[in-house]
């Protein structure tokens, strides 16, 4: 796996600078899905998960600078924030039942996934999001046969010859296509992560 470097606090400062809308957008796109899914796994309904996601990301960008890079990566810090927010949310819920028979709320507390497992999922989802954002960008600039050659060989695991026949290209061209796409995805990943620093 690509070892993602820890996010440096300069990103947070840039987000606060309000000038960097692009950085903000990317930040949201990168982290929102992971935050959302973590909320869902903790048993929040979709609407609530969406609310918590918005709240968390906003507070991270707008709140006081709290992240200390020396204590670990930005992602693990954010993970802690999400966990806390979800916890607060559930607790608030249990104290103020919404009147729709929310008796299951207490169970939600017991429903907490294993911490190690959850952290792992968090990291996985971040990585997936990172790579699919990168892939989307690459896909937008290569032609479809190039993309297909890449996808079918590198992701679906079909042989170059099969794919070459199916797509009507030479085997050499399939190799070139998939290598090009991978090289580009790699570069995009580095770039997104670089932006996020």
């Amino acid at each position: 796996m690509l070892q993602a470097p820890p996010t440096r606090p300069t990103l947070l400062i840039r987000l606060r600078g309000a000038r960097d809308e692009e950085a903000w957008r990317q930040f949201v796109e990168l982290y929102a899905p992971a935050v959302f899914r973590m909320c869902r796994r903790r048993g929040l309904q979709e609407a609530d998960a969406a609310d918590v996601t918005q709240e968390v990301l906003r507070s991270v960008a707008a709140g006081p600078l709290q992240y200390d890079p020396q204590r670990g990566s930005f992602r693990s810090w954010l993970y802690g924030i999400v966990r806390n927010k979800v916890h607060d949310f559930l607790q608030h819920r249990s104290r103020h039942p919404s009147g729709t028979g929310d008796s299951g709320m207490l169970e939600l507390f017991q429903n907490v996934p294993d911490a190690k497992d959850e952290a792992q999922r968090w990291e996985q989802e971040y990585q997936q999001r990172l790579f699919s954002m990168a892939a989307e960008k690459v896909r937008a600039v290569v032609d479809d046969s190039t993309w297909q050659a890449f996808w079918q060989t590198a992701i679906d695991g079909r042989t170059a010859r099969e794919v070459a026949q199916a797509l009507g290209m030479s085997e050499g061209a399939v190799y070139v296509a998939k290598s090009r796409v991978v090289a580009r995805i790699k570069r995009q990943v580095n770039q997104i992560e670089g932006n996020q620093q």
């Binding site: 000038r19 899905p33 969406a50 006081p64 996985q124 990172l130 090289a183």
Partner: protein
């Protein structure tokens, strides 16, 4: 990547050579196969080793598998985005929903420390109950004693000072020794780990601050009872040698079950004080409630707590602290100098003895307060019971002049607000007008730069080296400081920066030969200098000898400090400059020598703007009393008074032919005057906003003015509004280019915007100023514009000089040709 190569035939073609590394990389870099590369691709059809090399130079094995793994999962459909998530992302990216530009609005929420804990020590965290000044407070469960406790973690940055941890320990021990029903007890101090924390009694209930927020004011019996119990708690603490130092409504808790009052955060404020800070007069405590001696940075004793208790009880009666203002300096000054508004002006149901107790607690001189907290507790208890109590008046009564002024001013302000009847619009104006707190001290920046040496010091009080630090503000200030350190991208049209001023620059002027730039610094807390610069090099040539200027011969209001310059204008011959300053000082200077030539001594209030006619014979000035005066430049004789504006005149201008003048005011009107016949020609009413600056177009028939967040172009003949151009925040200075093509304006958002007058098209937004922009001017060379500024809102809503006092010179962009239109 282990099986990719295995599917290929191991055939090497003798006819084609293997690819060089350069060729491989070139293949990867292209998007399409170029004709030249087809031979290479053909080679790859057969050569397995080159295929492997190609794959490896695209990405290493780990990276290949990371790509495969992550994309396979994300493409599997398991993680299909829910519509809710998509909507949430869209909402977050919506810029209108997310405005970070104002640091003052940053909510303090969430965690101070990096990882929100599930458990601290042996204590299971139940939830966060608040954020004290020193750190986060959690509700937690003590499994051994089976009870709830409050855990306060000390924010790390507070422990950065040397010795802080030791002070924390010492103080916490002292507080833990206080055993009183009215003091939140400290169960234990855990300071062995990296994050020291306190385990305290958990009080289920609400703070007096919340109570006040909910109900506005409190019945007098409750006020007396709260006061009595808090005083009892203080008495116990004082007996143990602990001064609280930060008594405020938020630190007074009311137990839900028993109604009992408990004081929290004891001594913690003190723990943060270290010797070095005390020496420089750094004050800790919540400004609205601290004692005057604390505000002055003087040594304090237990009676400072009594003053704060008085402030708290005053707030409980009236719903507001006795000394309020929009910035810390102003609060401090009022605390030291002003007398609080009588409680009777708020409500008349408070028994006289209770009012007297509060007034006496609020005595400026500690000797005039009660001697001990115990005495206060006793008296308040008796008042609560309805006993007849006589409160002796303190032997000395000090009513300062400023308090009288303050009351008059409040009355005037109230009258103004009522008279105008529009609160909203005046929100900003009030901020600006009622800014009692501009420190009447030499500007800190100048002092730091070692420039506060000359005769200035005789007339100006020594710098007030008092700084109030509310911990939440500390965080905000930290963010701001980090932002201040950030390098901004250099705007491509930035020519140079003129660095030298140590305070906001409010006005600039350029000599007609486009060789020199004159800049004047004033407010907020400007360096009060007027400087001459060489435009071509950005070098500072010299400063005007401002020591010769009268300091404050008229009314400065309470807003401006003496000697602050608001305007500078240059004569057409480029030899002299006219400045306007606090208190109505209007001075004519020799630019070359920097010497004062003469003064125009009629204005009695701060002069905000000045203009010199194209012929150089007359000068027009406008002041904050609403008076504008026309002067003979060379004799100093007053020629005309343009009166009628109902509020401050913020800007004046003389038409290119010298026959007419414009004045703009906080009364939201712009007036056009006939200088030959000495009469007003027309009044222009803007919508709901003050006029900040005005410029004539070279034709003299059109003028641009800044009003609120717009730049407005007016047809002076018909009185019609031609066009309104938007700026990001309140607009400030405006100018029209000599060819009449362009209009430029500054804004509180720090940006300088340039438009095509004909089309209203925004041609350029110059970015680079970090704080407010005050003054913008086109250079007479027709190629450049200059802008200057400084000052900003503090994290808490007051005002401060900020960090950026550079004057910037910008290149004008290429402008499309004008389009002549048929009538």
């Amino acid at each position: 990547m282990n099986n990719i190569a295995s599917h290929t035939r191991d055939v090497s073609s003798p006819g084609s050579a293997c690819l060089s590394d350069g060729q491989l990389n070139a293949l990867l870099d292209e998007l399409q196969v170029t004709p030249l590369q087809s031979a290479l691709v053909a080679h790859l059809d057969q050569c397995e080793s080159c295929r492997i090399r190609l794959e490896t130079s695209a990405a290493d094995q780990q990276q290949w598998s990371a790509v495969r793994h992550n994309l396979r999962c994300s493409g599997s459909g398991e993680n299909q985005e829910s519509a809710r998530l998509t909507a949430a992302i869209a909402a977050l990216c919506e810029p209108t929903e997310f405005d970070l530009t104002c640091a003052g609005n940053i909510p303090c929420q969430g965690e101070t420390l990096s990882l929100p804990p599930d458990q601290i020590g042996i204590y299971k965290i139940v939830g966060q109950v608040g954020r004290g000044g020193m750190g986060v407070v959690y509700k937690a469960f003590d499994p051994t004693l089976q009870r709830h406790v409050a855990i306060k973690r000390i924010a790390e940055f507070l422990l950065e000072q040397p010795g802080a941890l030791e002070r924390f320990r010492r103080e916490a021990r002292a507080v833990a020794a206080i055993q009183d029903p009215h003091v939140v007890s400290i169960h234990s101090i855990e300071d062995s780990g990296p994050h020291p924390f306190l385990v305290m009694e958990f009080v289920e209930g609400l703070s007096l601050a919340e109570w006040l927020r909910r109900s506005g004011r409190i019945g007098w019996q409750d006020v007396a009872r709260i006061g009595a119990e808090a005083a009892a708690g203080l008495a116990a603490a004082h007996a143990a040698g602990v001064i609280h130092r930060d008594i405020k409504p938020a630190n007074i808790l009311v137990d839900q079950a028993t109604g009992r009052v408990k004081i929290s955060d004891f001594g913690l404020a003190r723990m943060l004080d270290d010797g070095s800070h005390t020496q420089t007069g750094l004050v800790r405590g919540t400004p609205e409630y601290i004692a005057p001696e604390q505000a002055a940075g003087d040594p304090i004793d237990h009676r400072a707590d009594l003053f704060s208790l008085g402030s708290v009880l005053y707030a409980a009666c009236t719903g507001q602290p006795p000394f309020e203002a929009d910035n810390v300096m102003a609060v401090l000054r009022r605390t030291r100098e002003n007398r609080q508004r009588p409680i009777a002006e708020f409500r008349n149901d408070i028994p006289q003895p209770l009012v007297q107790v509060i007034d006496r607690l609020l005595s400026k001189n500690p000797d005039d307060r009660f001697a001990t907290a115990g005495e206060v507790a006793d008296v308040l208890l008796r008042i609560q019971r309805g006993e007849d109590v006589r409160i002796e008046k303190p032997s000395r009564v000090v009513v300062s002049h400023s308090s009288l002024r303050f009351i008059l001013k409040i009355a005037a302000l109230v009258a103004l607000a009522v008279g105008i009847g529009v609160g909203g619009i005046y929100a900003r104006a009030a901020l600006l007008q009622d800014d009692d707190g501009q420190p009447q001290s030499a500007p800190q920046a100048a002092a730091d730069a070692g420039k506060a040496s000359d005769s200035d010091n005789a007339a100006i009080p020594a710098p007030t080296r008092v700084q109030i630090v509310k911990p939440d503000d500390l965080l905000r200030e930290r963010i701001r400081a980090e932002k201040d350190e950030l390098e901004l991208p250099r705007h491509p049209l930035l020519v140079r920066e003129f660095i030298g001023h140590t305070g906001p620059v409010n006005s600039i002027a350029i000599t007609p030969d486009a060789k020199q730039l004159i800049s004047a610094s004033g407010w907020p807390t400007g360096d009060r200098s007027v400087r001459v610069w060489e435009l071509a090099s950005g070098k500072e040539l010299h400063q005007f000898d401002t020591a010769a200027m009268p300091k404050n011969h008229g009314d400065s209001g309470e807003r401006e400090a003496p000697g602050e310059f608001f305007t500078v204008a240059v004569t057409p011959d480029g030899q002299q400059a006219v400045t306007g300053a606090t208190g109505g000082a209007v001075c004519v200077w020799s630019i070359a020598s920097g010497e004062l030539i003469r003064q125009f001594e009629k204005h009695t209030a701060t002069v905000y703007d000045s203009a010199i006619s194209a012929k150089g014979d007359v000068v027009l000035t406008g002041d904050r009393s609403g008076m504008s005066r026309l002067w003979n430049l060379s004799t100093g004789a007053e020629l005309m008074q343009l009166s009628g504006h109902k509020s401050w005149i913020r800007c004046v201008a003389i038409s290119p032919d010298g026959k007419r003048a414009l004045t703009g005011s906080y009364d939201k009107t712009m007036r056009l005057w006939d200088l030959e016949r000495s009469e007003m020609i027309r009044e222009f009413k803007t919508q709901q906003n003050w006029i900040w600056d005005i410029a004539f177009a070279p034709s003299g028939n059109v003028a641009a003015c800044v009003s609120g967040r717009t730049v407005q172009l007016w047809d002076l003949e018909s009185g019609e509004l031609i066009r309104s151009l938007a700026v990001g925040d309140s607009g400030t200075g405006v100018d029209i280019s000599a060819d009449g093509r362009l209009v430029i304006a500054g804004s509180y958002d720090g940006k300088v915007r340039l438009w095509d007058i004909d089309s209203g098209e925004l041609l350029e937004t110059y970015t680079g100023h970090r704080d407010w922009v005050w003054s913008v001017k086109f250079s007479p060379d027709g190629e450049h514009a200059l802008s200057a500024g400084g000052g900003r809102y503090t994290a808490t809503g007051g005002m401060e000089p900020g960090v950026d006092f550079a004057i910037r010179q910008w290149k004008l962009p290429a402008v499309p040709p004008r389009v002549a239109k048929p009538k």
